[in-house]
């Protein structure tokens, strides 16, 4: 398909609209469901629906709905970026995509090594999803990463991967690694094993949540300061919080933007480090050689 053709541009526009539509849906949902309130309040995710389950009721909360909508939006963003790729880079879009993919490939390669190059899509998904989830609060939406359930889910996925790669070097070795260096320390090793996903989930969630809480506190403080300093102005001028314009935005540049992107990077890097260090290459090769020898003798 020609880059300049009308059909190509139409598909582009449709993909862009489909990308923005979920975010608009989330905003509309937010406006419809948030009760009219005075001032600023700090609350957790709103619960939209409760589905009854035998052990525990499943709660459909704002965090889940926002992250689903974000996933749909990112899906169309990827389609838009990957639309009309050609062997020779022609568009800025393709150059951007190639630059991003090269950066990601370098990151995975330098942190995990040659053996784990199949992890590029997974790490990229974690990076992009976590980054944009944190940045969702810039639109005034509830960011899914400031809910512990979301980050705990991601940390559980990473924990499953770590355990899988430890098992790959032999189940007996996995069990034995708990009694290292002496068997008495097994409870300690068990705790440190469990602490990995817990600390990953808490770290991401705590950073994002504290950032958003501090932003809200700063906004409230500036509103109070404005009514204290400029309260003598007549009429609506006195009531309007002038100091709240602009100043909190500068601070939220760190608390929302930098901290969100940094936490995404840290989560991805920790995933890479934990997974690649869980896999003992020498032991894996030795086990495979032993198995091959057994097969030959049979």
């Amino acid at each position: 398909m020609d880059i300049k053709s009308r059909r190509f541009k139409a598909v582009d526009a449709i993909l862009l609209i489909l990308m923005i539509l979920p975010l608009v849906c989330a905003l509309v949902l937010q406006v419809l469901t948030s009760p009219p309130s005075e001032g600023i309040s700090i609350s957790g995710a709103k619960v939209f629906a409760t589905v009854s389950f035998p052990l525990q009721d499943l709660i459909i909360s704002e965090a889940q709905v926002n992250s689903w909508l974000l996933i749909v939006s990112l899906f169309f963003l990827c389609l838009y970026l990957a639309h009309g790729l050609s062997p020779k880079a022609q568009t800025k879009r393709q150059l951007l995509l190639e630059w991003a993919f090269n950066a990601l490939e370098n990151m995975v390669h330098s942190n995990m090594g040659e053996r784990f190059l199949q992890f590029i899509p997974f790490i990229g998904a974690i990076l992009v999803l976590s980054c944009f989830s944190s940045l969702l609060s810039l639109f005034g939406l509830f960011s899914p990463t400031s809910d512990l359930n979301v980050t705990a889910g991601w940390a559980l996925v990473v924990f499953a991967l770590i355990t899988f790669y430890k098992f790959k070097c032999g189940p007996w070795g996995y069990v034995k690694s708990f009694a290292d260096p002496v068997a008495v320390l097994a409870p300690m090793n068990l705790i440190s094993e469990v602490a990995t996903p817990v600390s990953m989930a808490f770290r991401h969630y705590g950073n994002i949540l504290s950032g958003s809480i501090i932003s809200v506190l700063i906004g409230t403080a500036f509103a109070g300061l404005s009514s204290l300093v400029l309260g003598w102005l007549p009429g609506i001028l006195g009531e309007f919080p002038f100091l709240r314009i602009g100043v909190p935005a500068v601070l939220s540049l760190y608390f929302d933007v930098v901290s969100g992107v940094l936490q995404a990077y840290i989560f991805a890097t920790l995933t890479m480090l934990y997974v690649s260090s869980a896999f003992n290459v020498d032991e894996f090769e030795a086990r495979r050689a032993r198995k091959a020898r057994k097969k030959k003798t049979l």
Binding site: I42, G44, S199, F202, R203, Y205, G206, N207, L209, S210, I213, L262, Y265, I266, T269, L270, L273
Partner: protein, 95 residues
């Protein structure tokens, strides 16, 4: 009497949250040390800036963990614990 009890609960939750954040001292000192050493290393070998920075970030993150635990506990004490404890108190009185 009930007001007093609820007041004690709210006050102790706030105090506990404040005390929990004493744990912020440790990560602060630790991360400061890490960043200082990283700056020294970059000053000595400017060409290794990338590797030093990423390693320092990872170290800072690990050092930050205890602070984040304290932060989560403080947030729970401020936003979750008062309602829960007051509910427990009210059911204990009512039941």
């Amino acid at each position: 009497m009930l007001e007093l009890a609820i007041g004690i609960i709210l006050g102790c939750c706030a105090l506990g949250a404040g005390f929990a954040m004493i744990a912020g001292i440790g990560p602060g000192i630790g991360e400061g040390n890490a960043v200082a050493k990283a700056c020294e290393a970059i000053g000595r070998q400017p060409e290794s800036k990338g590797a030093v920075t990423s390693t320092m970030l990872m170290g800072c993150v690990i050092a930050e963990t205890t602070g984040i635990y304290a932060l989560v506990i403080a947030i729970l004490l401020i936003f979750v614990a008062p309602n829960m404890l007051v509910d427990i108190l009210l059911t204990a009185i009512g039941g």
